[in-house]
Amino acid sequence: MDVKIANVMKILARFPVFGKLSHQEQAQLAQSAVRKSYQKGEYVAHRGDDWPYVIIIDYGEIHAVKLSPAGRSFGTMKLQAGEEFWSPSLFNDIPLPATLEVWQPSAIYFLHRDRVLPFVKNNAAALWELSLGLARRLHQKSELIEEIAFSSVAERLARLLLDQFDSRGDSPVGRDLSLDEMGAIIGTTPVMVCKQIYRFAEIGLINVSRTEFRLTDQPGLEEIAGSR
């Protein structure tokens, strides 16, 4: 067997839905998989497309971003290496509700509906795994409602900053998210993000330079985030 196909089969087998398919079905799916590479800022698919794919992120980071009529963006989902996404168009012929935007250089495997569904729709065990995956996504969406409906902008921004500091220890954090991107993640405008960052700096929680943030009062920021 071709080494490339064998590698894709290994990747597919890690996913609960595809793991329930037979070896032969996995091999056929692996043969049909198309791998594409993207640079930051490119689009994988656009809101409103009838988009009949399952995708698997090989590496990188993709965000599902919704644009308001006024042109403001809001990120509703982040996909990273080793995660899958089943387009809603596969289930109910509905268009893609958000644009899939590349936030970090990425490689993605595409599996077309015409290849995936004949195998999956005939396999009850695979379908129950699919429902389990969707139920988990529903939990994530519910958490997003809690976050956005019940928390202030200051709380949401504090949590976003703490997440970033958390992965870098005590070191300063490079400002690799733009104000637009931060606004898109926490559901507010870039202007509000900017105001709030400078408020945090004024009260001594963080130091802000043009290129990095430095955490100066972790307990204070945690208190605002509601984690203390």
Binding site: L127, W128, S131, L134, A135, L138, H139, F150, G187
Partner: protein
């Protein structure tokens, strides 16, 4: 069990089962009646059930630790709710509150899953049901991210009353219920309704709304959903 037979055999999932399966589900169903204000499950409960609403209306409600309330969506007669715990054994992410007196049928996962599993088309429909639920939740998230209170209230009025221009619609939502649905206070709902009235979009009386300019209301609602 007549109430069960009326609509449920035409619903997603159930329409794919055989008459014998329907009969078995009818025998296994637990019928319950709830009064307005009761809870069917609470946020944090493990609830591995499927619920069919024969009559009435329930609310998928989220509560913050400070007691702030958000009604996410309101399933009504003929709708089916698949408990997330059925799939992942995890606690429910919301509370199911009875908004109007309701008559419901319940099946435990251990009873219903083997019956549904006999038909792959029905199992596929379970996924479609979950995707539909996800779409409703997503609309609420977008509403918060993009629309100020006026936009969210306009969307609620258009969705709930589905008004025809110039026709009266009885007011069956209280100010509190509207406020819970769009994440604001009753005072702000009242103020915004009167702003809509002053701008000629609706006429308000104690018992009804008349939608006098649906186009303007849709503009406020920012209708752009795909």
């Amino acid at each position: 069990m007549d109430a069960l037979n009326n609509c449920f055999t035409h619903k997603l999932v159930f329409s794919k089962l055989s008459p014998a399966d329907h009969a078995q589900l009818t025998r296994l169903a637990i019928r319950k009646t709830y009064r307005k204000g009761q809870f069917i499950f609470l946020h944090g409960d493990v609830w591995p059930y499927v619920l069919y609403i024969a009559s009435g209306r329930v609310g998928w409600v989220m509560l913050s630790p400070e007691g702030k309330r958000q009604v996410v969506f309101c399933p009504k007669a003929c709708d089916v709710i698949w408990g997330h715990s059925l799939f992942d054994d995890e606690p429910m992410p919301a509370t199911l509150e009875v908004m109007e007196d309701s008559d419901v049928f319940l099946w435990h996962g251990e009873h219903i899953m083997p019956i549904v599993s006999r038909h792959v088309d029905a199992v596929w429909d379970v996924s479609r049901e979950l995707v539909n639920t996800m779409r409703q939740i997503r609309e609420v998230v977008y509403g918060f991210a993009f629309h100020p209170v006026a936009g969210r209230l306009a969307r609620l009025l258009l969705k709930h009353y589905q008004p025809e221009e110039g026709q009266p619609a009885p007011r069956d939502l209280t100010l509190d219920e509207m406020a819970d649905s769009i994440g604001t206070t009753r005072e702000l709902v009242s103020k915004t309704l009167h702003r809509f009235a002053a701008e000629g979009m609706i006429e308000i009386s104690r018992v009804q709304f008349i939608f006098t300019n649906r186009g303007d209301l849709e503009q406020v609602a920012g209708h752009d959903e795909g």
